[in-house]
């Protein structure tokens, strides 16, 4: 359970600064430090039991479906890393307390720092591969926030994004690798994975998996060629750099390689890739560190180089190499953190990090100079400092490594070269800053910082020295850490003096040549001017930007915003699908043969085809096209009648009229003709596509028509009278069997009314004052004969709609048709008498009518609840009254009444509102007319 606490305490620590940020900084800093400190104590408290050979584990299920457990382990490796992460983290916190200026949001900074610490601890302790990956990515996110902390600076923003992108990409690769690994092993449990080394190596997917995992590790640990983000991450505040690039972020990749070492190392492939990558990185980083002029840049490239060093060691993979690797992790963390912090102090005091502008600081800040020199010496690998020891071990291991066959000599030579360079850049760093005379005197004389700010540096420098002199002290820790990495216990001994041997010679060479190299530094500089590294940031930014541009261009090519293209794609897809289905039919014609043809049918088909083709062919002359469409509408109604569907015929007829009125109303405000725009080729293509789909539809239709259909309809025919109380089966289906459809449908109708009401809101239309040919409008606004007839027709129409409504349940008719008839009669009044006159007499709002319709239908349906039946259950009964005789009452009629009201209301909402919008005789007449001329002149420009 304490394991969980160790892992969670830093995470909870995120909340502490968030909650205490409004207090004084000292309080906040102390409070923030408390939880991680506790975690550190708890970690160290387990040292004895670890030393006794235990591996502590904790696990609870989290997401079994994925194999993700909340599982932590504390072994030697985790102990080593936890100590580094939390220990140095606390020092950084102390340092940052002084480093941040008074105006900066320190609470936020601390929170990010804690988040970062928590995620690193998570990586160190995760006992489940997926959990490890979760924390892995979390480091990327929190480092993004930290690097971009000074968000007003462009380099900070870009550096942060670059780090996130590169490490994020690596993280995605790692996910794939982890999933593969889990698949190979059959579990994401770390113990199982670590124990399955042989299975893993034998699996055919091994190399792919290894590649993916290493991609993750290399990007995070800034190995060549993914190193480029690291120097740019230096835009972060120095405490961040000190933390991320000494002990933590970049070590995550190393940690991963170490953690998985027993499982995935041990192949030739591993050694080759890891060693070579490490070696290249080592030289590359060191080389460029030598030529950087910014303190932090030098440190950054040296970090790259040192990470390469550790990687080389992990690649070699012999027990001593692993010891060396772990040792150097520790050493690098100490001296690099110290150096970063002192660089921050210098920056803080002098206002610059350019070594050209610095110099002679040993006088102004002697203590800092001393501490930095110690750390620098450790970095250079000077004897008696810790860096010397691990570097010598590297030399020894490169000599012993059985790699590269005949080129085996290359490794030690390169390692020595790396040593030379590291001596040179370390010397340059220290000498140029503290000892060389400055070119110009600083504007303000620098001072020593507060001693507490210096304390972390002092502590770390002291560690460099102590460990360098008495490496025995860390033997225990390294031994513990080695065991999980190696997969077994291993006895070793660290000492300063191994006698005069080849590694010692190499160290000496490195020292001497390194000093010389610094001496002839200027010449070297000239020498390499030719191949200066390209600025990774510029390349990266350009790459990202051109990626965006390419994406935009391709997207534009793909999606030109053209409806015609979208529609073509939609239809093409539908065509392909239809053809695929039809292609599977052995014969199109089914067993049910054709019924005989007669003249009327031929005429009907001819009229339909005439109307359809006419509509399409005359589409540029819109009014004619409409008339053709009307022919189709009429003949469709006749077709319904011909094939035994009187209800459909009635509906189609009345809808046809309403549609026509609607289209006429709209056409007034649209151009009367369509300009000829489409090329003939395009027209031909469209004809082809439409025709092909037409053929598909016809074939499907024919195929179905010539086959028998064992439909469920028999049930409706049988139950219509006994169960639904109506003889008109279609109507009973509509209001009873499938009343739910109808309820949805009147909702759609009401919605259309509402939507159109919305559309018409503040609609600005221009009112043409003459027709398409420039003819003026007729002055006769309301032709008298039409006026009289519309009035005479109204009562008759209402009577007919009452008739159609009442008989609907048993004969063709029903609420829909009745509603449409009523609505059409009222619309006729609108046409004949105008909006003003009609509105005065129809002075109720239409929306409530439509909604009351829906409500009536709904409530009728709900009524059945009272009797314990499901929604929409109908009831009917035959009653008998004296004089009147027998008659039928059915709840379905009430439902149908709802339909009637909804249809009337919605249709009027649509048409009358549309009519109203376009009518100049409104209160806001002037406004409209000015708009109208406005728009008219605008539309005038549209002429082609």
């Amino acid at each position: 359970m304490t394991l969980l606490w160790i892992a969670l305490l830093p995470l909870l620590g995120v909340l502490v600064p968030a909650l205490t940020a409004h207090r004084r900084r000292r309080f906040c800093s102390l409070a923030t430090a408390a939880l991680p400190a506790l975690a550190l104590v708890l970690t160290l408290a387990h040292w004895p039991s670890l030393a006794a050979g235990e591996v502590l584990r904790f696990a609870v299920d989290w997401m079994p479906a994925l194999g993700l457990d909340l599982a932590f382990r504390l072994d030697g490796l985790a102990l080593l890393f936890n100590s580094l992460i939390v220990g140095i983290g606390l020092l950084i916190l102390l340092y940052a307390h002084y480093y941040l200026s008074a105006t900066e949001p320190f609470g936020r900074f601390y929170a990010y720092l804690m988040l970062f610490m928590a995620s690193m601890v998570g990586i160190a302790m995760a006992d489940n591969l997926l959990l490890l990956w979760l924390f892995w990515e979390l480091t990327g996110l929190s480092s993004f926030l930290l690097i971009g902390f000074w968000s007003h600076r462009s380099d900070a923003r870009k550096g942060a994004r670059m780090a996130l992108t590169v490490t994020g990409a690596g993280g995605l690769a790692l996910l794939a690798g982890v999933l593969l690994l889990g698949d190979i092993v059959g579990s994401f449990d770390m113990n199982v994975v670590l124990a399955s080394g042989e299975t893993i190596l034998a699996d055919p997917r091994y190399s792919l998996m290894l590649g993916l995992v290493l991609l993750g590790a290399f990007t995070k640990s800034a190995q060549f060629p993914f190193h480029f983000w690291l120097p740019h991450a230096m835009a972060a505040p120095t405490p961040v750099s000190a933390y991320l690039h000494s002990a933590t972020m970049v070590k995550a990749g190393i940690l991963l390689m170490a953690r998985l070492h027993p499982a995935i190392a041990g192949s030739e492939l591993w050694s080759l890739i890891v060693t070579l990558t490490g070696m290249i990185t080592l030289i590359y980083g060191a080389w460029f560190a030598l030529f950087k002029t910014d303190l932090k840049a030098i440190l950054a490239f040296s970090t790259v180089s040192h990470l390469g060093l550790i990687t080389v060691l992990l690649g070699i993979g012999s027990p001593m190499a692993l010891v060396a690797a772990l040792f150097h992790i520790l050493n690098h963390a100490t001296f690099k953190a110290a150096l970063f912090m002192s660089a921050g102090i210098i920056d803080h005091e002098t206002g610059t990090r350019e070594i050209a502008r610095l110099g002679g600081l040993r006088r102004a800040m002697p203590v800092t100079a001393l501490l930095s020199t110690i750390a620098g010496a450790a970095m250079a690998g000077v004897p008696l400092f810790n860096g010397f020891l691990s570097k010598e071990m590297l030399f020894a291991e490169t000599l012993a490594a059985p790699l590269l066959g005949g080129l085996g000599w290359l490794l030690p030579v390169l390692a020595t070269l790396g040593g030379v360079l590291s001596v040179a850049y370390s010397l340059r760093l220290i000498h140029a800053v503290f000892f060389k005379e400055p070119r110009e005197a600083p504007a303000q004389p620098p001072h020593e910082p507060p001693w507490l700010m210096r304390a972390p540096v002092a502590l770390l420098a002291l560690l460099c020295l102590v460990v360098g002199v008495a490496p025995v002290l860390v033997e225990g820790l390294l031994g513990l850490a080695l065991e999980p990495v190696l997969g077994k216990a291993f006895e070793f001994h660290l000492s300063i003096w191994h006698g005069v041997n080849l590694p010692l010679m190499m160290s000496l060479v490195a020292l001497i040549v390194g000093v010389a190299a610094y001496w002839r530094h200027a010449n070297l500089r000239r020498l390499i001017k030719g191949f200066r590294p390209v600025d990774a940031r510029l390349v990266f930014e350009a790459a990202i930007q051109s990626l965006g541009r390419i994406a935009e261009r391709n997207l534009a090519r793909l999606d030109g915003g053209s409806l015609q293209r979208y529609m073509t794609l939609l239809l093409l897809t539908a065509l392909v699908m239809g053809v695929l289905g039809l292609a599977q039919m052995p014969v199109l014609t089914g067993s049910k043969g054709n019924q005989p043809l007669d003249g009327i049918l031929l005429l009907g088909a001819g009229l339909l085809i005439f109307g359809g083709i006419g509509t399409a062919a005359t589409h540029r002359y819109r009014l004619i096209s409409l008339l053709m469409l009307s022919v189709v509408g009429l003949v469709v109604a006749l077709t319904f009648a011909r094939f035994s569907a009187p209800d459909l015929a009635l509906t189609q007829l009345s809808v046809e009229v309403v549609t026509m009125i609607l289209l006429m109303l709209a056409l007034f405000f649209l151009p009367q003709k369509t300009p000829k725009e489409s090329s003939n080729r395009r027209n031909l293509r469209d004809v082809g596509l439409a025709g092909a789909l037409g053929v598909v539809v016809a074939s499907l239709n024919y195929a179905v028509l010539t086959r028998d259909n064992a439909s469920i309809s028999g049930f409706f025919l049988e139950n219509s009278v006994p169960g639904g109380g109506g003889h008109n089966v279609v109507n009973v289906i509509l209001v009873d069997f499938r009343g739910f459809d109808t309820l949805g449908e009147i909702t759609v109708l009401a919605l259309a009314g509402l939507a159109i009401f919305k559309l018409l809101n503040r609609l600005r239309l221009f009112m043409p004052h003459s027709d398409g040919e420039g003819r003026l409008w007729s002055p006769d606004r309301y032709p008298a004969i039409l006026t009289s007839i519309s009035m005479a027709l109204l009562p008759l129409a209402l009577l007919v709609s009452a008739f159609i409504f009442l008989r609907g349940h048993n004969q063709p008719g029903g609420g829909f048709i009745a509603g449409l008839v009523t609505a059409v009669a009222l619309i006729l009044l609108y046409m004949a008498r105008g909006v003003e006159w009609t509105q005065q007499r129809l002075d109720f709002p239409y929306q409530p009518v439509a909604i009351v319709g829906v409500a009536t239908a709904t409530l009728t349906g709900l009524g059945s609840w009272l009797f314990g039946y499901p929604f929409l259950t109908s009831a009917f009964g035959h009653f008998s009254l004296p004089l009147i005789g027998e008659f039928e009452l059915a709840t379905a009629m009430l439902f149908d009444l709802g339909v009637y009201l909804a249809v009337v209301g919605a249709t009027l909402m649509i048409l009358a509102n549309l009519g109203k919008v376009t009518t100049p005789h409104r209160p806001a007449k002037e406004a409209t007319e000015s708009h109208a001329t406005d728009t008219a002149s605008r539309s005038g420009k549209e002429k082609h």
């Binding site: 003249g599 129409a797 007919v800 006729l828 009519g915």
Partner: protein, 89 residues
């Protein structure tokens, strides 16, 4: 005799409809086409009535009634459109 009369009548109505189509297609002016459409509506009443006689059913009475009552409204709308542009004003 009735059958013969029925088929004759149907043939005549079919011929009438074809003449309507001719006028509709040829125009030359919008009112001509509109007139053709209007006549087509009326002729289709004849068609429906004849169908009712042929099938011996009164199921289609309402269809005919509706055409007689509402058919002219499309015509009115188009006329109003040609006369005034705005059909509801």
């Amino acid at each position: 005799m009735l059958d013969f009369a029925l088929w004759t009548s149907m043939a005549l109505v079919v011929a009438a409809l074809l003449l309507n189509v001719y006028r509709l297609a040829v125009g030359p002016d919008m009112p001509d086409r509109l007139l053709a459409l209007d006549t087509m509506y009326v002729n289709s009443i004849a068609l429906i009535v004849l169908m009712g006689l042929w099938l011996n059913t009164k199921t289609y009475f309402e269809s005919a009634l509706l055409i007689a009552m509402l058919g002219f409204i499309s015509t009115v709308a188009v006329c109003k459109y040609l006369l005034r542009g705005d059909i509801i004003e």
